[in-house]
């Protein structure tokens, strides 16, 4: 029993072997899972970024903090 098409390397005819990754035949399902994973990243990341921008905007309302940023910028 093997998840790949190889049961043993002993005496295996390498020229006759094609794909040897596990679960050959599930490529389309893997592609769909991959596409969902990729698109989910963009959606989740946008949410994280939005929250972060709100925090940054709140910080920008502090005159003291802004002043500190500008002073540091002038020193750079």
């Amino acid at each position: 029993m093997s998840t790949t098409l190889v049961e043993s390397w002993s005496g295996a005819e390498l020229d006759a072997l094609g794909p040897i990754y596990p679960m050959v035949g599930t490529e389309v399902m893997l592609l769909i899972a991959g596409l969902i994973f990729w698109l989910a990243y963009h959606v989740l990341q946008y949410g994280i970024e939005k929250k972060e921008m709100e925090e940054d905007e709140t910080a920008a309302r502090s005159a003291e903090r802004l002043q500190r940023v500008f002073e540091e910028e002038a020193r750079e």
């Binding site: 990729w38 946008y46 970024e49 940023v69 750079e76």
Partner: protein
């Protein structure tokens, strides 16, 4: 793989391309370093993460559709024919994974482009070819990254990175950087080391984005005079560019096919040669000569024209290579040096002229160094190599390099596949309010929320230390 020499050729080629991949990684390390060096302290983390995260995003999308586009689109489609079947490059192909070259359950033998090479060839070379092209994709997206620092939303940039990294640049590669691409066979387009197919398109794309994005706050005085927002760390910037030079060795070498039987490319039988991506003969020696001489031409001219400015001297070295790259498979080294010098001066002058005239804020000079230098390099190549065959010997009708073919090719790269898609996608993102960070965030810095968290952590630790010192009687 049927003969010993065939097997050795394939395995050597597999290793050859593998070596180019870690070398090209250095380009990305360099881009990250110089972008961080060029940004202000308040934006460092976002700057590095913006460039870093394009790596996984372009990688997965290049697996999903970029690689297939390269083999499917050489005819346009719709210009000289339809889509080309390319079984080995579709993301569900058995050859897009660990494969020993024999028949598979679903794919006994790949059909379509390269079918005559067989499963044994593609099983060894598909991954390394894919990765070498992928690293070019990262470079294209990374060039755009530098132009947008300190004001673009990372989420927007990453969408744009996928557009250029896994879509538009690989279309241009199918058209103009493929032995059977329609631009090569119809226009005689020649761009051996990617002046246009990477640099002009990425520069044009960057220009399209920054036109919509606008300049950083404070970049221009009310009367329109540009202000210098100097790199925060010039040392980091220059070392970053130095690393890009190092990575360029891998980039150049990956543009060649290292060994191929002369009969297979339509020449007389009986010898082996290295070729360009177009399967036209060249040598590694030629490109080593010309890489170093064009780099030198760019640096020498850049030092003089910028009066010794470190950032621009390094950038002009890059511009020198980029200008000469289209024809660096054939130029004489002194020609490469002079072309590099001309490209560097043009890139430098154009950067500041465009900045003043059109109020374009390109903090790292990416549009000039890659876009203008790449465009100019293509046109120069048209004159320098006028009449030289652009197509491999197996094409029944040869196409020849001409100034007009190169000029048209440069316009396709810079404007059609670079500027226009970037402008359109950026406009859409802008209309949705997704392109640029809010002005308050830009002023306070994109890293502010991280800095506040770190500040809170530091205060908490400090308070714990004070409490412990009191408990030990060290503080009253």
């Amino acid at each position: 793989m049927d003969t010993d020499i065939g097997a050795l050729t394939v395995i050597f080629t597999e290793f050859y391309y593998w070596v180019t991949i870690p070398l090209m990684f250095l380009i990305h390390v360099g881009f990250c370093m110089y972008e961080v060096g060029a940004s202000r302290h308040k934006n460092h983390l976002h700057t590095v993460m913006k460039n870093t995260m394009l790596i996984p995003l372009v990688t997965v999308t290049f697996f999903f559709f970029g690689w297939w586009i390269y083999f499917a689109f050489p005819n346009g489609p719709g210009i000289t024919g339809g889509l080309t079947q390319s079984d080995h490059a579709v993301p569900w192909s058995e050859l897009m994974g660990t494969h020993l070259g024999g028949p598979g359950p679903a794919l006994e033998s790949a059909q379509g482009y390269g079918a005559d090479l067989g499963n044994a060839f593609w099983s060894r070379l598909n991954g390394v070819f894919w990765a070498a092209f992928l690293l070019f994709s990262w470079t294209a997206a990374s060039i755009v990254s530098g132009a947008t620092i300190e004001r673009i939303r990372p989420s927007a940039f990453w969408i744009l990175a996928v557009v250029i990294g896994s879509f538009t640049w690989i279309i241009d590669a199918a058209w103009g950087w493929h032995p059977d691409g329609w631009m090569v066979t119809q226009l005689g387009y020649h761009d051996a080391y990617a002046s246009g197919v990477i640099h002009a398109i990425a520069g044009g794309f960057a220009l399209g984005v920054v036109c919509v994005l606008g300049p950083r706050i404070g970049k221009f005085a009310p009367d329109g005079t540009p202000r210098n927002i100097n790199p925060h760390n010039k040392w980091l910037v220059t070392i970053g560019l130095f690393l890009i030079y190092c990575g360029f060795w891998g980039f150049y070498v990956a543009c060649n096919v290292p060994i191929i039987a002369s009969g297979d490319i339509g020449a007389a039988e009986g010898t082996f040669t290295a070729t360009t991506i177009y399967l036209t003969p060249t040598t590694l020696s030629a490109i080593v000569f010309n890489f170093l001489m064009s780099l030198s031409g760019g640096m020498l001219a850049g030092y003089v024209v910028s009066r010794g400015d470190a950032f621009w001297t390094y950038s002009c070295g890059l511009a020198g290579i980029i200008t000469a790259s289209a024809g660096n498979d054939l130029y004489h080294p002194i020609q490469a040096m002079l072309i590099g010098g001309v490209g560097a001066v043009c890139a430098y002058k154009l950067h500041f002229w465009v900045e003043r005239r059109f109020k374009i804020d390109d903090p790292v000079g990416a549009v000039a160094v890659h876009g203008y230098a790449g465009f100019i390099g293509l046109v120069i190549c048209g004159f320098m190599l006028w009449g030289h065959p652009a197509t491999a010997g197996y094409h029944a009708e040869a196409a020849f390099i001409t100034p007009w073919g190169q000029f048209l090719g440069a316009c396709i790269m810079f404007i059609v596949l670079g500027f226009i898609p970037a402008f359109v996608v950026s406009k859409i993102l802008s209309m949705l309010g997704m392109l640029r960070v809010p002005p308050a965030v830009e002023l306070v810095g994109l890293d502010m929320s991280e800095e506040m968290r770190e500040e809170a952590d530091a205060i908490e630790v400090s308070q714990a230390d004070i409490a412990e010192a009191r408990r030990l009687g060290l503080l009253s």
